[in-house]
């Protein structure tokens, strides 16, 4: 096989791993609370700034900066739910979406005010690894492995803990679960916290690959929504597969044509999927 095509395929898989985490977090919130966090990518952006600031400005070790980023973004997720989403739970969906769209502006504006619009780079890089004829970026590989571990932890949490079972149950049927003694408000809060934690983890993985600036969320936010919907709401495995599918489309499309066109193809593919299977590619 052509080594360049192989490299494009491998990069697609690695890219999919990076998309997978925020898509899973968004899926969790969307599936459980039934509210789209339009500002999800901006939560990731704040997390990226936090890691950048703690590592380059405050001089913390990278691992510690990443560890601090998780609870910070989780806290943001909780605050978002408590202050904005919870009062709007019974409002029309458009009001909920627009309110979180307002938070998007707040976070972008806050980041611009504090950090200016300069591109900030962590300045961490690892030598590329050679596998046969193919070169793989070390940072991408580590991010990929961390994304897999994060997704695995999420799966175990949802599958084997009592709270996780309740979360899955609420996503299936939000009318019946309260009758079974599950307090949906508590579950919503927990799901928002877990969603925030995943955004924090995604931030740690993205900040080593991308320069952070206040509008960086717009570069991967839209595709995250699409992956989440394509996989089928509440369907974690579907979302995971959809993330790799999108990663492959973008990477191989970039190899055959150019990156911009590959994004056009990916978005077009999403629109087609919505027409043919609006419940998601892998809906049960």
């Amino acid at each position: 096989m052509d080594p360049f095509l192989l490299e494009a395929l491998l990069n697609g898989v690695l890219l999919g791993g990076v998309f997978a985490l925020p898509a899973l977090g968004l899926n969790l919130v969307f599936g459980v609370v039934d509210v789209v966090w339009l500002c999800y990518a901006e939560l990731v952006m704040i997390g990226m700034y936090a890691v950048w600031f703690l590592y380059t400005q405050a001089g913390w070790p990278l691992a510690l900066a990443c560890a601090a980023c998780l609870p910070l973004v989780a806290g943001l997720g909780l605050a978002l739910h408590w202050l904005v989403v919870r009062p709007l739970l019974n409002a029309p969906p458009i009001n909920q979406v627009l309110a979180t769209g307002g938070v998007l502006f707040v976070l972008q504006g806050a980041a611009t005010l504090v950090f200016k619009t300069d591109f900030r780079s962590l300045g961490v890089d690892m030598p590329p690894m050679e596998l046969g004829d193919v070169f793989i970026s070390g940072t991408k590989l580590i991010a990929f492995v961390a994304a897999l571990v994060g997704a695995g932890c999420l799966w175990a949490f949802l599958k084997f803990t009592y709270v996780g079972t309740a979360i899955r149950a609420i996503a299936r049927d939000r009318e019946v679960m309260p009758l079974m003694g599950v307090d949906p408000r508590r579950i919503y809060l927990i799901a928002s916290g877990v969603g925030g934690t995943l955004a924090g983890l995604a931030a740690c993985l993205l900040v080593v690959q991308l320069d952070v600036h206040p509008f960086v969320g717009l570069s991967f936010g839209p595709i995250t929504f699409m992956i989440c919907v394509m996989g089928g709401l509440g369907n974690m495995l579907g979302g995971f597969i959809a993330a790799f599918l999108m990663g492959l489309i973008i990477s191989v499309g970039g190899f055959v044509g150019n990156t911009e066109m590959s994004y056009v193809i990916a978005f077009g593919f999403f629109i087609l999927v919505m027409f043919v299977r609006p419940q998601g590619l892998f809906a049960r």
């Binding site: 029309p92 972008q108 504006g109 609006p278």
Partner: protein
């Protein structure tokens, strides 16, 4: 005095503003607000019936780029280019809307599909950089002074009259729509699509009609904005940022009243300018920060917007 007469007087009073020789800056703000109002009015026509589009930036941009490319490459006057831009936007809107409505993509899903479509258009504008100039943007070719009328390049007063006429046209469409059976049908569809279909409402057709009107106004506003600024780039006329700004104006003013989006546009432009005046360009993040807080506040406490407030009291 009957209501049409009152409205005609109000419109004439607005049209007379340039005759009193206001500072250029004031006129500039008024034109900018009016252009935003046209796009917001277009968006609200769909939005108030539950068709939330996050892709109106795309149509705004399609109108602008069609007009500018026709002028720069083929010398087609904007007087013809703007209607053509509207036609192209309508074609794009139908291409997206028809399958959406036919296959019943609604709610969150509709919003996300329009978001994806908006991104596609923004990326295409950047990618076709040989003619559009990519993310650097482009400027419509200037003509010598004196030949500006045909090229739609004239002073602020002329632009004020032009935008005012387009804005009044948009409101007229809204008014006519409100008095048609279509608005009743759309209200029923927004309430319950199945029930509406079961009493014989042609859901797809009605939704397409409103989409065409809405998209046309967005494209008109986009083309006029580009022509007024004499500059257009993918980021400044298209994409999620522009889409959300259009939405914000319409929501803040109130999308259920005809004048709501206009109130919202005056508010956003006023807010933008006062933040710029008070904080200077140093604090560029201040404007979106306050926008965002206001948007959240409006959703929490005043979901029908400012016009909704007036409506309750009046």
């Amino acid at each position: 005095m009957t209501r049409p007469v009152q409205l005609a007087i109000a419109l004439l009073a607005l049209a007379a503003i340039p005759l009193f020789g206001p500072p250029d800056y004031v006129l500039h703000l008024l034109i900018t607000a009016m252009l935003t109002a046209i796009a917001g009015t277009g968006w609200a026509m769909m939005g108030r019936f539950g068709l939330v589009s996050f892709g109106h930036g795309a149509f705004f941009g399609v109108g602008a780029y069609t007009m500018a490319l026709l002028w720069n490459l083929y010398g087609v006057t904007p007087w013809l280019g703007i209607p053509l831009g509207i036609v192209v936007a309508i074609i794009a809107g139908v291409m997206l809307g028809w399958p959406c409505f036919r296959l019943r993509v609604v709610g969150h899903y509709f919003a996300l599909v329009t978001l994806a479509a908006g991104e596609i258009v923004r990326i295409l504008m950047t990618a076709l950089r040989e003619s559009t100039g990519g993310s650097l943007g482009m400027t419509p070719n200037r003509v010598p002074v004196g030949e500006g009328l045909l090229a739609m390049q004239f002073g602020k007063a002329g632009f004020w009259w032009l935008t005012l006429a387009c804005w009044a046209g948009g409101l007229l469409v809204w008014w006519l729509l409100d008095r048609s059976m279509s608005s009743k049908a759309l209200a029923a569809i927004a309430e319950d699509e199945d029930a509406a279909a079961s009493i014989g409402i042609r859901v797809t057709q009605e939704k397409l009609k409103i989409t065409i009107l809405s998209v046309a106004l967005a494209a008109l506003a986009g083309a006029l904005t580009a022509q007024y600024r004499m500059y257009l780039s993918p980021e400044s006329v298209s994409g999620l940022g522009i889409s959300l700004q259009i939405v914000f104006g319409a929501i803040a003013g109130g999308m259920y009243a005809p004048l709501g989006p206009t109130i919202g546009a005056v508010l956003t432009i006023g807010l933008d300018e006062s933040l710029r005046v008070f904080f200077g360009t140093e604090l560029t993040g201040a404007a979106p920060f306050f926008y965002g807080i206001l948007l959240v506040m409006f959703m929490l406490f005043l979901p029908r917007g400012i016009a909704g407030l007036l409506e309750r009291k009046g």
